[in-house]
């Protein structure tokens, strides 16, 4: 396959402030995709705030949307297309339908395991049956809970989550870490107990540096439950992207934000970060395809974002 995609906005670019928000370097303005048979393709599939929505929604404006059995079929089909696929969730797996009230999240976790989720981060509602309630469902998970800014040292979850996770697909080393929202004021203290919330920007800065520079990851993905963006100065995916470096993609949750396409945010070093979120209740699956080439380090032009 050889494809040459000119930047969509290269003609409109003259008009726009959006110009430099989209393309990090001047050279990338003229960058075209150079996808060849040698290119490696990593697909990231992601969900967030599924909130125990196992069956399609009945009634209301979202009637007929969602459903785990359909999501599973879709994921399987995409995996057939590209085995180098990651399936990730950004938290708030629990709470929202009687499935949670009746089974305490057991079915949600079992189904995620069956669908082949690779990792998930933890949302505030995942504490709804207490930290013990979350712990109780862990044996049903054959995927990892990745969360970097909750210190569980004095809790039952100590040692049961990962602060980061590295997966190598087709020779591409992918580093992931997870960020949770401040629990104080959002979750009853009796539910999160001695969980300590650590500053997400500090932690993200560290984790991204460790993954990219120390561990040599080719891609760094942040799974976040901070929320997409706020009017206040509360840390969000957008503010996190701008305040850090070494992160390639932030997939998020919490604010139930339905983005039609990811936003590109310039990071601390003026590089693009792909920031995305797919609403809630399993109504959408986000699919990010990343094409990577092995090139001379001194001859690497920008990246084309077909968003």
């Amino acid at each position: 396959m050889k494809r040459s995609t000119f930047l969509k906005s290269s003609t409109a670019a003259v008009a726009g402030m959006g110009l430099f928000a989209n393309f990090s370097t001047a050279t990338s303005l003229y960058k075209v995709s150079s996808i060849t048979e040698k290119s490696k393709k990593i697909t990231i599939l992601h969900t967030n705030d599924t909130h125990s929505h196992i069956e399609p929604i009945v009634g209301g404006r979202n009637d007929g949307r969602g459903g785990v059995a359909r999501r599973a079929a879709l994921v399987n089909q995409i995996r057939k297309e590209n085995p180098n696929t990651l399936l990730l969730d950004c938290g708030d797996i629990f709470q929202g339908t009687p499935y949670f009230n009746f089974y305490g999240g057991e079915l949600e976790i079992k189904l995620m395991s069956m669908m082949g989720y690779d990792a998930a981060t933890i949302g505030n509602h995942d504490f709804d049956n207490g930290i013990d309630g979350l712990y109780k469902q862990l044996p049903h998970a054959n995927f990892d809970f990745v969360i970097s800014n909750y210190d569980f040292k004095n809790t039952i979850l100590d040692g049961h989550t990962l602060e980061n996770k590295i997966v190598t697909l087709d020779g591409i080393k992918i580093g992931m870490f997870g960020l949770g929202i401040e629990l104080d004021g959002l979750v009853n203290k009796t539910n999160y107990k001695e969980t300590k919330y650590l500053d997400p920007i500090d932690i993200a800065t560290d984790q991204a540096r460790i993954l990219k520079e120390e561990k040599g990851c080719d891609l760094v993905i942040c799974m976040s439950h901070l929320g997409y963006s706020y009017k206040s100065d509360t840390v969000s995916d957008v503010s996190l992207a701008a305040a850090t470096s070494n992160i390639d993609v932030i997939i998020g949750g919490h604010t139930h934000t339905f983005l039609e396409k990811p936003e590109l945010i310039l990071n601390k070093e003026g590089k693009n970060v792909v920031v995305n979120q797919v609403g809630c209740y399993g109504m959408y699956l986000g699919r990010i395809d990343l094409y990577l080439n092995e090139t001379d380090i001194n001859n690497q032009a920008g990246t084309v974002y077909n968003l």
């Binding site: 995709s33 996808i35 490696k40 196992i54 069956e55 399609p56 007929g64 949307r65 059995a69 359909r70 999501r71 599973a72 079929a73 879709l74 009687p98 499935y99 009746f102 089974y103 079915l107 079992k110 189904l111 069956m114 669908m115 709804d128 591409i172 009796t190 990219k212 520079e213 040599g216 080719d218 070494n246 390639d248 983005l259 039609e260 396409k261 070093e269 590089k271 797919v278 399993g282 109504m283 959408y284 699956l285 986000g286 699919r287 990010i288 395809d289 990343l290 094409y291 990577l292 080439n293 092995e294 090139t295 001379d296 380090i297 690497q300 990246t303 084309v304 974002y305 077909n306 968003l307």
Partner: protein, 267 residues
């Protein structure tokens, strides 16, 4: 991925030192200029948001796995717990309603034993909010599902301890709102101009003592601007309002609730 530079190995020590120095310089330049230590480059990013809808096939093995869980929920949801002779809606009557009064009665009946054991006292007053009642209760068989419809939230009953001044604020809130916020344990009458005419708590005038007010954790934490709960001592009961309803419905045969004269206004 390895660094993409390689210097020829030389045995000459001077050259070695020089090379090491050059390597270090190069490395620094490398790190600051492109911030990547690999030769893998992200060339292109594509995105597609895929809506999950009925145009997609379902994975049969997953659907089959879910089915028994769903069937059990449906069975439980459709289980008839008791009988309701008369339809109840939160807007049936102006200042207090059969439905609101029912919820307060259920809390007294179901949660009092917990309060008794944890605080060695009884609930004096129950206060909920009108907006928290999310559905009516139609006449006929009362199923578990109805409790979920009326109370879809996970709110739990908590008991706050209010002194006289705080109770006065609570009463002022009810008087000012002039709305059918469900309460029990109090009798409040308004004058025609909406000012407070009279209030009694369990048939006694308000006095300087501690009142035990049962409410939801949502309201206790400032929901619906019930700020009189601020900084009051609170005790959890670990009893969800919905579960109190379900347990009560299971216990009784027929519901008998009416609006009454607990909150009235002169013509």
């Amino acid at each position: 991925m390895a660094f993409c530079y390689n210097f020829p190995l030389k045995t000459d020590r001077k050259l070695g030192v020089y090379l090491a120095f050059a390597k270090a310089l190069f490395l620094i330049t490398l790190l600051t200029s492109c911030n990547s230590n690999t030769n893998v480059h992200l060339d292109t990013v594509d995105y597609k948001r895929i809506e999950i809808n009925d145009s997609l096939a379902q994975e049969d093995s997953i659907a089959q796995f879910i089915a028994p869980y769903g069937a059990k929920i449906n069975q439980e949801m459709n289980r008839v717990l008791c009988y309701n002779p008369k339809s109840m809606h939160k807007n049936d009557t102006p200042l207090n309603t059969a439905l609101g009064n029912m919820l307060c009665e259920i809390i007294v009946e179901q949660v009092n034993p917990v309060v008794k054991s944890r605080l060695d006292t009884n609930i004096d007053v129950v206060l909920l909010n009108h907006g928290g009642i999310r559905a009516p209760l139609p006449a006929g068989e009362v199923t578990t599902k109805r409790a979920y419809e009326i109370m879809p939230f996970e709110n739990e009953v908590v008991v706050a301890q209010l002194n006289k001044a705080q109770m006065e604020q609570l009463i002022k809130y009810i008087v000012d709102r002039e709305r059918a916020h469900p309460f029990s344990g109090m009798k409040i009458s308004l004058n025609a101009d909406s000012s407070l005419n009279n209030v009694s708590i369990n048939d006694q005038p308000l006095t300087e003592k501690i009142y035990y007010v049962a409410t939801s954790d949502y309201l206790y934490n400032g929901g619906d601007s019930m700020n009189f709960f601020n900084n009051t001592t609170v005790t959890k009961t670990d009893y969800k309002i919905r579960n109190a309803m379900i347990d009560y419905f299971k216990k009784v045969d027929t519901l008998k609730f009416e609006s009454d004269n607990r909150f009235t206004k002169a013509n």
